[in-house]
């Protein structure tokens, strides 16, 4: 499998058009001389962020929470149903805004942004992988991946090439023009991962990525995640599957809207 992150040399005019400068920053090398912010800013900084759904009665889905995810971390968010892990995912993914506290993504204060700006941050800095894949049935694999660049500023340049590169990086170079219906579940999820990667996000959010897959294919997806983590990608995986969580470097456990555990495991312990 070839490296997902294209090596970045001196910025070219093409790169300048391509997006914000910090997208160049190689996550594993925070002192790479490119960081405008000096030392690497954590990807995620939640400060007393909470989410209450208006009543009656009001439901405090997520109690005020502090959470910092450093660049290159692989975090599993675990908890039973109703524990608030989905709410946390939506806050992290900018699909929802906290009703209390603050959330900085790549140092950007996301709470104060307008909707088009938040959508722009979502497009440029966050990659989503869903349990149900969410591929468009009437489009080819490569078109599905190209969709990720539709709403991204500067996303038109080399759109197809970058989609193909992302598909190659997940090992699907032989199925580019197939439709999702002809793919196996594992292949579909790999297409979804490729779609999440094409914008070179700061944070990959996965919501029960193995939930619709059998154990063997689920393991393949998790191996892919391990690989991406090895290349320096920041991952947050929501799961109720302890074996999935065990592959992460850090496990954040939720219960009743509260963080009840936050510990380093496995590779993160080293």
């Amino acid at each position: 499998m070839r490296s997902l992150r294209r090596s970045r040399g001196a910025p070219t005019p093409d790169d300048l058009d391509d997006g914000p400068l910090e997208a160049w920053a190689v996550p594993t090398a925070p002192a790479g001389g490119l960081s405008f912010e000096g030392e690497a800013v954590p990807v995620v900084v939640l400060h007393q962020a909470g989410r209450t759904f208006a009543g009656p009665p009001p439901v405090e889905a997520l109690k005020p929470t502090d959470l910092v995810i450093e660049r290159g971390e692989y975090v599993a968010i675990v908890g039973p149903s109703g524990s608030g892990k989905s709410t946390l995912l939506h806050l992290l993914g900018l699909l929802d805004t906290p009703t209390a506290g603050s959330y900085h993504l790549d140092g950007i204060d996301t709470v104060t942004l307008s909707e088009p700006e938040r959508a722009g941050v979502r497009a440029a800095r966050i990659g989503f992988v869903f349990q149900a894949f969410h591929l468009l049935a009437h489009r080819s694999i490569v078109e599905n991946v190209m969709l990720a660049d539709l709403y991204r500023p500067g996303g038109r340049d080399r759109r197809r090439e970058r989609a193909v590169e992302a598909l190659v990086s997940v090992g699907l170079e032989h199925r580019l023009d197939a439709t999702p219906a002809t793919l196996s579940g594992g292949e579909r999820q790999r297409v979804a991962v490729a779609r999440a990667l094409v914008s070179e996000p700061s944070l990959l959010l996965a919501d029960e990525p193995t939930g619709n897959l059998d154990t063997a294919t689920g393991d393949q997806i998790m191996a892919l995640f391990d690989d991406l983590h090895g290349q320096g990608l920041t991952l947050a995986v929501i799961t109720h599957d302890r074996s999935v969580a065990a592959r992460a470097g850090r496990v954040v456990g939720l219960r009743d809207g509260e963080v009840i555990e936050d510990r380093l495991v496995g590779s993160g312990m080293r």
Partner: protein, 408 residues
């Protein structure tokens, strides 16, 4: 650190729309069917009304629409019938002063008694050399007023008229019978004992075909030699649309003291006939077309709404990929507008085909307002816009969280 706004390129929006509409072509066509039929019905109705109206109108051709004839009322009975002598000899110059008259000329039949016409005697014991040929007296403007054309020679003019010159212009049939084929050798014909120099031979006239078989001489010559008593009628050629006006003005111009003794023949107004026909045909069928358009709009709204529900997952995905509510609304609205416009184009084509087919069976020439083929697709697009507004709003207010959690 800055956050760039999410954006959607127009070309991307259009290509997304194209993909969405072509992904399931059968469904697209069925969705648009009501609008296709509605637009088609409207175009057919308007086209057929126009075509039918034009058939009836086409009887009132330009030639008839520009002809006004003023004649003196007759008096007496049987052989004693004669025209009242109310049209003045200078009728031509009186009428030519009126705005809208392009040419005018008097024409009267000349009573030559038993006089026969002959050309310069040719000794032909077997052939007939004398003929009974009608003689008409005219003012020089008549040739313009009946839109005559010359075979050879020239018309007589005001100078001939003023000098009472014995000249004549022959209708082609008369020329043939008198065996006159050229005028450069100054042929002379005789009517009774009166000699006339032939100055021209007509090729044809658009009006008054009786002139084709006649010998036409100036008024003054007719008065001097055949005691022509008065002008029978005046032929007036008017500008298009001026017929009614001239018809009203001419009697006063000709006979200010007793205009009611003149009869005026004007062509019926084409506009009135056309509006009657169109009005009848249109009202009912336009109503039917309107109803089918309404049904078509409801059809588009219905299917678009269903497709919003079906595509909840897609909406959530697009939001996750960076689409704003506005982008989602815009996408669905563009789809329904494109669908409506497409239906408009198809409906227009069907309507035009129907008009052509009906015209072919009736042997009519199909007539269509030129704006119609352009306005109809716009109408379709407007229908799509109206029909798509609620579904688009519904789509844009779909919560991405709920949409993503739903089954894909």
């Amino acid at each position: 650190m800055t956050a760039e706004r999410s954006r959607l390129n127009l070309r991307d929006l259009l290509s997304e729309t194209a993909v969405a509409l072509t992904a399931r072509p059968a469904r697209t066509v069925l969705t648009a069917l009501g609008t296709i039929l509605g637009v088609g019905a409207l175009v057919t109705t308007l086209g057929l009304a126009k075509t039918a109206g034009n058939q009836i109108v086409s009887r009132f051709n330009e030639l008839e629409a520009t002809e006004v004839v003023v004649s003196a009322q007759s008096t007496g009975f049987g052989d004693n019938t004669r025209s009242l002598n109310v049209i003045p000899w200078d009728a031509q110059s009186r009428l030519e002063r009126l705005n809208g008259v392009t040419a005018a000329g008097t024409v009267s039949a000349v009573d030559v008694g038993d006089d026969l016409a002959r050309s310069v005697p040719v000794v032909d014991p077997q052939g007939q050399t004398e003929f009974q040929i009608p003689v008409m007296a005219a003012s020089p403007g008549l040739f313009g007023a009946v839109r005559a054309s010359l075979f050879t020679g020239r018309y007589f003019d005001q100078g001939h008229e003023d000098r009472a010159d014995p000249v004549a212009v022959l209708g082609p049939a008369a020329a043939q019978r008198l065996n006159v084929t050229r005028v450069d050798n100054l042929p002379v014909i005789f009517v009774g004992d009166e000699a006339f120099a032939v100055v021209g031979i007509l090729a044809d006239t658009a009006r008054r075909p009786d002139l084709l078989g006649a010998i036409i001489i100036p008024n003054q010559a007719a008065r001097d030699r055949f005691e022509l008593g008065g002008v029978e009628s005046v032929e007036i050629d008017v500008a298009v649309g001026a017929a009614e006006l001239i018809g009203a003005q001419a009697p006063t111009a000709l006979a200010p003291n007793n205009p009611d003794q003149l009869r005026v023949a004007v062509p019926p107004s084409p506009r009135r006939v056309r509006s009657d026909v169109e009005g009848d045909v249109n009202a009912l069928f336009l109503a039917l077309g309107g109803v089918s358009l309404l049904v078509g709009a409801i059809g588009i709204a219905n299917v678009t709404l269903v497709s919003v529900l079906e595509r909840t997952g897609e909406i959530g995905l697009r939001r996750a990929l960076g689409a704003t509510r506005r982008h989602i609304a815009l996408q669905f609205l563009t789809e329904s507008v494109a669908l409506g416009a497409l239906a408009g184009v198809l409906g227009t084509s069907l309507g035009v085909l129907a008009v052509v087919a009906v015209s072919a069976t009736r042997e009519w020439s199909p007539v269509l307002d030129s704006w119609l083929p352009f306005a109809a697709p716009v109408l379709g697009a407007v229908i799509g816009l109206v029909a798509g507004t609620y579904p688009a709003w519904k789509a844009s207010s779909t919560e991405p969280i709920a949409a993503l959690r739903g089954v894909a």
